[in-house]
């Protein structure tokens, strides 16, 4: 039954403390819309300002990472977008925001090229293993460094996520064996 199917999905998410779940093509309008809803929800929850700012910041960085680096392209059967330029680099991913006890957790997953596993593993491990003080110093250094070629952003995303997190980052990879791998990242605030 349709109702029970959707209710089961909702119940499964709810049982894991998920407040928001998005699975699909991650575009800037999605980031804007989910971002606005997240801001309102955090305000209703009466989250303190520091927590609110950090959860939102981690959400933005994870979303923008997916938009920039996810490897999956749109299917031909999708309806044409109103802006063809935006569809040129459409990226697919999954993102959840939820509660674990008194903490907020932001999880994101996306398809990547298997060849990127080592690079990502090294980078995220390094950020996870640094102390807050070390992160602060490196962050300021990187702010002044030259931008990476081809990067539309500053290449500081994982560092910003690690700075905002209250626990070490958790992450995982699966090589899907079909020329694709899956990368998952969990940040706790």
């Amino acid at each position: 039954m349709l109702a029970s199917q959707l209710m089961d999905m909702r119940a499964m998410l709810h049982s894991q403390g998920v407040i928001f779940a998005y699975s699909g093509y991650v575009t800037e309008p999605v980031l804007s819309g989910v971002g606005e809803a997240l801001k309102q929800k955090l305000t209703i929850d009466d989250a303190d300002t520091k927590t609110l700012r950090s959860v939102f910041a981690v959400f933005v960085e994870q979303m923008q990472n997916i938009i920039r680096y996810s490897a999956e392209k749109s299917q031909p059967s999708l309806p044409p977008a109103s802006d063809p330029g935006a569809l040129k680099e459409i990226r697919y991913g999954i993102l959840t925001i939820g509660r674990e006890g008194s903490d907020y957790v932001v999880c994101a997953g996306n398809l990547i090229e298997p060849g990127d596993i080592d690079r990502l593993n090294t980078r995220v491990s390094r950020n996870r293993d640094m102390s807050k003080d070390e992160l602060q110093v490196l962050y300021k250094e990187q702010l002044r460094a030259e931008p990476e070629i081809g990067s539309k952003g500053a290449g500081l995303g994982f560092m910003e996520i690690a700075r905002r997190a209250s626990k070490p980052l958790e992450f995982d990879f699966i090589d899907l064996g079909n020329g694709r791998a899956f990368f998952a990242l969990k940040a706790t605030i």
């Binding site: 804007s32 606005e36 520091k50 602060q136 995303g157």
Partner: protein, 123 residues
């Protein structure tokens, strides 16, 4: 040289109010645009032109930024570097008044929650 640069804030980009005649520049709000280069490019261009012609004049720059994503933090750092460079080039003594009100108590929140005023003045 233009008189001013006014960019209205959007939900994801800050308000930019550069009054070049009055020598009062301000950037306020939140900053997490899709393409940082596309947004800040014109801002840098206008600022470069203004600073190049400032000479020994005084200028006030207010940073009232509530949230910056990592890419924007880099762009704002570049903005601050331009101000520093202009001051050094003019070889004038600067008094920089910095009022910092942090809305979150955290050693890591840095510039995204700082309210900063820089008031260089010539002798």
């Amino acid at each position: 040289m233009r008189d001013k640069l006014d960019i209205e804030a959007t939900s994801r980009t800050p308000a930019v109010s550069f009054d070049f005649v009055g020598n009062h520049l301000k950037i306020s709000g939140e900053s997490y645009p899709e393409d940082v280069t596309e947004f800040y490019g014109p801002v840098f261009t206008a600022l470069d032109a203004y600073l190049g012609g400032l000479g020994g004049g005084a200028c006030r720059f207010d940073f009232e930024l509530i949230y910056l994503n990592s890419s924007s933090a880099k762009a704002v750092m570049m903005l601050m570097d331009k101000l520093d460079a202009a001051a050094k080039t003019a070889l004038r003594s600067m008094s920089i008044g910095t009022t910092t009100r942090r809305t979150t108590r955290c050693r890591n929140s840095a510039r995204s929650s700082a309210r900063t005023s820089r008031t260089p003045s010539s002798i």
